[in-house]
Amino acid sequence: MNTKYSNQFKENLKRKTVYTLLYILLGILVIICLIPFVMVLMNATRSGVSIQKNGLSLIPGGYFMDNWETLKQFTDIKRGFINSMFISISVTILSGYFSALTAYGFYTYNFKANKLLFGFIVLFMMVPSQLAFLGFYEWMSILGFVDTFIPLIIPAIASVGTVFFLRQYASGTVSKEIIDSARIDGASELYTFHKIGIPLMMPGISTMSIFTFIGSWNNYLGARIILNSPEKFTLPLQLANLKGSKVWFENQGPLYLGLFVSIFPIVIIFIIFSKFLVESIAAGAVKG
């Protein structure tokens, strides 16, 4: 009786120890993941002197507005935010609408070149972007599009990955009977796409849209080679240019405020939609 009791006690102790160790391990990992976010958030409100002297702090300071004023002297962060927003929203809308249209076209209509053209899209997904990159830049300068937003926005109409995903998605959610009955009721083809196709594909479109938005918002290389005038710079360009300036070495508070402006909109969007975003990553929808 006694040994049985002590065995149970031992087992309990073992369980508790294992759980404690596991949660400590996970806790450390969580801290490693979150430290940069916390650092940016806190340091955006602190003075450069305090950051330099005291390192990391979990207590916010009172320098948010001061940092904002200083940051504005170095770079027009409001302009950068507006530019980034304008480009990313345009890209997201164009990519969402035209990818849905293309995917719907491939799914609904049995035209001759259907399989061939779709196969071409699948093949193209394997081609790394660096092949197009230099030719793209040269071609854009021949067309006179350098230093405009056109090369950063218009290509979104042809988002290969999104079309592929939505084509697969449509076959699961858009029923051909509904489309046929709409036709019999006399609805035009485009009307059917807008009133039936898009609503049925909407969950897929929104998921891809969020990843499209994040990708465009974070795009550095494209903006770096296309844009020259400072007033057209996007946030990543402005931030990269802060490296080596006075706010980089001496007064770091404004630098962190700039990083804050670039990071937090996305984090908030992700957390709001996290439930189905994680599911779609799990479904392998998002290319790594």
């Binding site: 990992l29 940069p36 390192g55 053209l117 081609v127 092949l131 090369p151 550095y220």
Partner: protein, 314 residues
């Protein structure tokens, strides 16, 4: 009716293909054309045939950049997959049920959301030799007595970039692996537990084979992404050329500098195509080896089944 409708099919995919040809397909051929020319961006391109390709193949710095990229990628992919597998083990254990998978998944994915530029700037600060948080922390724990120059030696600089990449991508791998394990019948794992298989045996013989297709996917996309590593080395190396000692000079950084710093567009274009061929070869060999192992295994199973059938006959 069918014919009339197929007109709409072409109409709907038309905008996509117009933009696709102008902005994606044509640039690829334009890059190919440039790779056969000498072109500074100021005067007209001059046709030079395969000269650029021969120069790239003999270019020591190109191959160094290639090795740097492979090294940074190699350390990163091993760490990333190992970490993701440990997490899969923890979260799919049948005896110890750790709670909060949904929240952990979100937190582990957060690093993937930040722009690579911001990541580079943040880690430049964290890794700073004099006031960086990482050195300060190690000092406080009495683990070091002299500050470490994380970005001063080739070895540490490459290791740092590998770790940054791991930090950004392990959550993504974890979510993918976890989904694969979840897709499997729990009974299979339970049955092997009853058979007395230990945790590592289950990981090796039950879970890993289930994750294998995803593992291959992560490996190949990781390789393609890894070989194109650019933003982080550009911003984290002091001169933008891959300092210290060119240890952070990656292939795409080298390509970028040739094009936009030295104005050798032709040469840079040749680098792009050489890298593309290398990626195709590596992916091909990788897939072939993986598949060959599978084919062998299938044959083995067949043979065993046949033997079993024969034994039954007797």
């Amino acid at each position: 009716m069918e014919k009339k409708l197929s007109k709409y099919g072409y109409l709907y995919i038309l905008p996509f293909f117009v933009i696709f040809i102008v902005f994606s397909l044509y640039p690829i051929f334009h890059t190919l054309y440039l790779s056969f020319t000498k072109y500074s961006g100021f005067t007209d391109p001059v046709w030079v045939g395969f000269d650029n390709y021969l120069l790239v193949l003999e270019d020591k710095i190109f191959w160094e950049a290639f090795l740097n990229t492979i090294r940074i990628w190699g350390v990163n992919i091993v760490l990333q997959i190992a970490l993701a597998l440990v997490l899969v083990m923890i979260f799919s254990d049948l005896k110890y049920k750790v709670k909060g998978l949904k929240i952990f998944r979100i937190i582990f994915y957060l690093p993937n959301l930040i722009a690579a530029t911001s990541v580079a700037l943040i880690f430049l600060k964290l890794l700073n030799q004099d006031y960086g948080v990482i050195n300060k922390f190690l000092f406080d724990l009495n683990l070091i007595t002299e500050s470490i120059g994380w970005l001063k030696s080739s070895f540490l600089a490459q290791l740092s970039v590998s770790n940054i990449q791991t930090w950004m991508w392990f959550g993504n791998s974890f979510i993918l692996f976890m989904a694969a394990v979840h897709a499997v019948n729990k009974e299979v794992i339970e049955a092997s537990l009853i058979d007395g298989a230990g945790r590592f045996k289950i990981l090796l013989h039950v879970k890993l084979p289930l994750i294998k297709p995803i593992l291959i996917y992560v490996g190949i996309t990781g390789l393609i992404g890894g070989l194109q590593l650019f933003d982080i080395p550009l911003l984290i190396s002091e001169d933008g050329l891959g300092s210290p000692d060119g240890a952070l000079n990656t292939v795409i950084l080298y390509l970028f500098n040739h094009a936009f710093r030295y104005h050798n567009f032709g040469y840079a274009a040749a680098i792009a195509y050489v890298l593309f061929v290398i990626i195709v070869i590596i992916s091909g060999v990788f897939l072939l080896t993986v598949n060959r192992a599978e084919i062998k295994e299938n044959l083995k199973k067949k043979r065993i089944r046949k033997m079993g059938a024969k034994l039954n006959e007797h």
